[in-house]
């Protein structure tokens, strides 16, 4: 590997190490849950604030014979940021913005910088993150490791397509710089490499220029899955964002019906007063429900509806409301359009106590309609409909462990209870078959159920071998692990 930056030597001259001894302190034990709350583990959690302490943690892991799992915002639905009975390094305190150039829109950040921090920082200069996930609590380190996408995936790809360069601390403690020329193989594998090759210590990302704090939004209801697909075909070319919501409880000829929202940036000069709309105080998540219910307690009202008949009722209402009003056009602050998942804080509490898992297959466009129809029908037949279904369009990318296809993804949230746990597992195995048959792929940020043989089937043995070779080069002793790694790629 070229361009090896020596890890700062200051740790050697320090009088004492931050983390003494060979044994891990029980004082660092914490419960680390999956974001969906369907599983959790106990780990020794450390929150380093500097590169030196990050290095010392790697040494501590070696001394104590434990592995290190990396955790950002902890927004992965499954076990991607869990490392049970081992060390979890939570990078949230490494959250400084290192460089920002408002003329070029290039920003260099530490891995713990959240999406919220990022957009709030660049907005007033007329920039916006190129990729916005449905929640703004994600960190840039986690986003890069999972190679996340937004509602513009069909046009802008995943976040990896907008990362210009990053510094990666390897398990040995040395830091390498990776971009599309230097350490190219590591660049394309560490992005989307779910934290298995090294630790991002800085990321350089290209922001997107905007001319207004508002988006032109248009929404429309479609009566079936074919209609939903047609919408994407029709509007993809001249939309910046498109996202579909599917009423997963509607069956028969209504299967796959739902609402579609698309949004476009305002062109230069359209917003008469961009300086105003680009101000932070004009980016708010939206009003209270019906004007009276505070958003912070809305999850309480969702909770009783989290059953099949409840959701059938809610979805029916939502769909009918959408279809009665026809095509709606309005302007909306970026935040309101993008961070729908943040609109109702703690919404996942409505799924307690069992939590939720998400199953999100990505299927090539030619097979997507058949596969998704089959999946929706199967879930209904098994009596396990999912409670939130989101349809998105994607484009392929060049990253080694990519989940993307030239096609569609359907994200499905399943409520987990003690009673249905086992049935959900069995059903996802049936769904896996449908997805593999359709040439589909899976996404580590969302996964809870992927099995080694399914991963090998969609990624290909060659790709996995290449990834293992790179892992061996960057992390010869296998210091970096997570529950996800052991589950899907463990020996």
């Amino acid at each position: 590997m070229t361009n090896v930056k020596s890890v700062s030597t200051s740790h050697k001259s320090r009088p004492t190490s931050l983390y003494e001894g060979a044994n891990l302190s029980a004082a660092h034990l914490e419960e680390v849950p999956s974001w969906g709350g369907a599983s959790s583990g106990i780990s020794y959690v450390y929150r380093p604030s500097t590169i030196e302490s990050l290095y010392e943690l790697l040494m501590l892991a070696r001394r104590s014979g434990r592995t290190v799992g990396l955790r950002g915002g902890g927004n992965s639905y499954g076990d991607a940021a869990m490392n049970s009975e081992n060390i979890v390094v939570d990078i949230c305190r490494m959250n400084r913005i290192l460089e920002w150039d408002p003329r070029t829109g290039v920003i260099r950040v530490e891995p713990g910088v959240t999406l919220a921090q990022l957009w709030q920082y660049v907005l007033e200069d007329g920039w916006w993150p190129p990729i916005a996930t449905g929640t703004s609590f994600t960190t840039m380190g986690g986003s890069a490791a999972m190679n996340v996408h937004g509602k513009n995936a069909f046009k802008m790809g995943p976040i990896g397509d907008h990362i210009l360069e990053f510094d990666l601390m390897l398990a040995s403690g040395e830091t390498i710089t990776c971009n599309r020329e230097e350490n190219r193989d590591v660049f394309f594998a560490a992005i989307g490499g779910f934290g298995m090759l090294g630790i991002f210590t800085s990321l350089t990302i290209q922001m997107k220029h905007i001319y207004s704090g508002l988006l032109d939004v248009e929404s429309e209801a479609r009566g079936d899955l074919a209609g939903m697909f047609a919408y994407f075909d029709e509007y993809a070319a001249d939309s910046d964002y498109i996202v579909g919501w599917i009423d997963s409880l509607a069956g028969g000829r209504h299967t796959g019906r739902g609402d579609v929202h698309r949004a476009n940036y305002l062109a230069e000069g359209v917003d008469p007063n961009p300086a105003q709309t680009l101000r932070l105080e004009n980016q708010h998540l939206g009003p209270n429900l019906f004007g009276v219910v505070p958003r912070s307690i809305m999850w309480l009202f969702m909770r009783p509806m989290m059953r099949n008949w409840g959701l059938r009722f809610v979805n029916q209402g939502k769909y009918l409301a959408g279809s009665f009003t026809g095509v709606k056009r309005y302007r909306q602050p970026h935040v309101q359009f993008h961070f729908l998942l943040d609109y109702i804080p703690d919404w996942k509490k409505a799924y307690e106590p069992g939590g939720l898992i998400q199953y999100q297959p990505f299927i090539p466009k030619e097979n997507a309609y058949d596969a998704f129809s089959e999946i929706l029908t199967l879930c209904q037949r098994r009596g396990l409909p999912n409670y939130l279904t989101v349809l998105k369009r994607h484009r392929p990318d060049d990253f080694l462990m990519t989940y993307a296809v030239d096609g569609f993804s359907m994200a499905m949230d399943f409520r987990v209870t003690n009673e249905n746990r086992q049935r959900i597992v069995w059903m996802t195995r049936e769904l896996d078959e449908i997805v593999l048959h359709a040439g589909g792929r899976f996404y580590f940020a969302k996964d809870s159920v992927l099995r080694p043989e399914v991963a090998e089937a969609y990624l290909g043995a060659d790709t996995i071998a290449r990834f293992r070779t790179l892992k061996h080069r960057c992390d010869p002793d296998g210091l970096l692990e997570t529950d996800l790694w052991r589950r899907v790629f463990g020996d």
Binding site: N23, L24, A26, A27, L29, E30, E31, S34, A38, S39, G41, I42, R66, G78, D79, M82, S84, E85, N86, I357, V416, R421, Q422, I424, V425, S448, V449, D483, R486, R487, G490
Partner: protein
Amino acid sequence: MNRSVNRPLEPQQRAIVIGASSGLGAALVRLLASHRYRVAAVARREAELAALRDELGREAVLPYVHDVTEYEQAPLLFDQITRDLGGLDLIIYAAAVQPPVSLHEYDFAKDEAMLRTNLMGAVAWLNLAATRFERARGGHIVGISSIAGDRGRVGSPVYNTSKAGLDTYLEALRNRLSRYGVSVTTIKPGFIDTELLKNASKTFWVITPEEAAALTYEAIRRRKQVVYVPSRWRLVSLAVRSIPSTVFRRLSF
């Protein structure tokens, strides 16, 4: 090395049983394994542990040879076990010794052995579990005590003391940990047909280790606090505890 893989949707219960080589401990290992627990069986006797593993399978039972009076080994072993199991939901302390003691005997070596195994070993192990469960906001601690802890009798002063000490320790743990969602169960068996009983003079209502294990498992499942095994001993205990000391000292048991 044993390294368990967590499957988020197929959680497995994981338990440690200390004093697992015979009697109630071994019966509990069998019962937990039959309820799909993954069990770390800790005991002094290697051959018995190996037999247990062979009987129940390598996936279900992980044997660890350990003498509970070697307190300083407990922390490292506890760490290793929790890692091998991939977590911990339940710990049962079932180790106990009861050498025969005559009515006129004050043998410090015997007494120390009972305190070390029955009480100090429990403190060494359950302190570790308590630390972990408090931080994890959950878990279940079970101590196998005895009806012998309810009164100091002429026949076995220090055995009574060790069990009374264990009762009080477990009660204190319960008071400390219940606010963190951790359950602590004290199991107080009467006579069980085990090695401990071979020195006992008068016995009645004797049950098998399997029967005792079934009742203990039920108490664990229902997250009970203090359970007499079988439950009729609770009435006996109530009666025995209400006998005034002046009368009690004249009794022969």
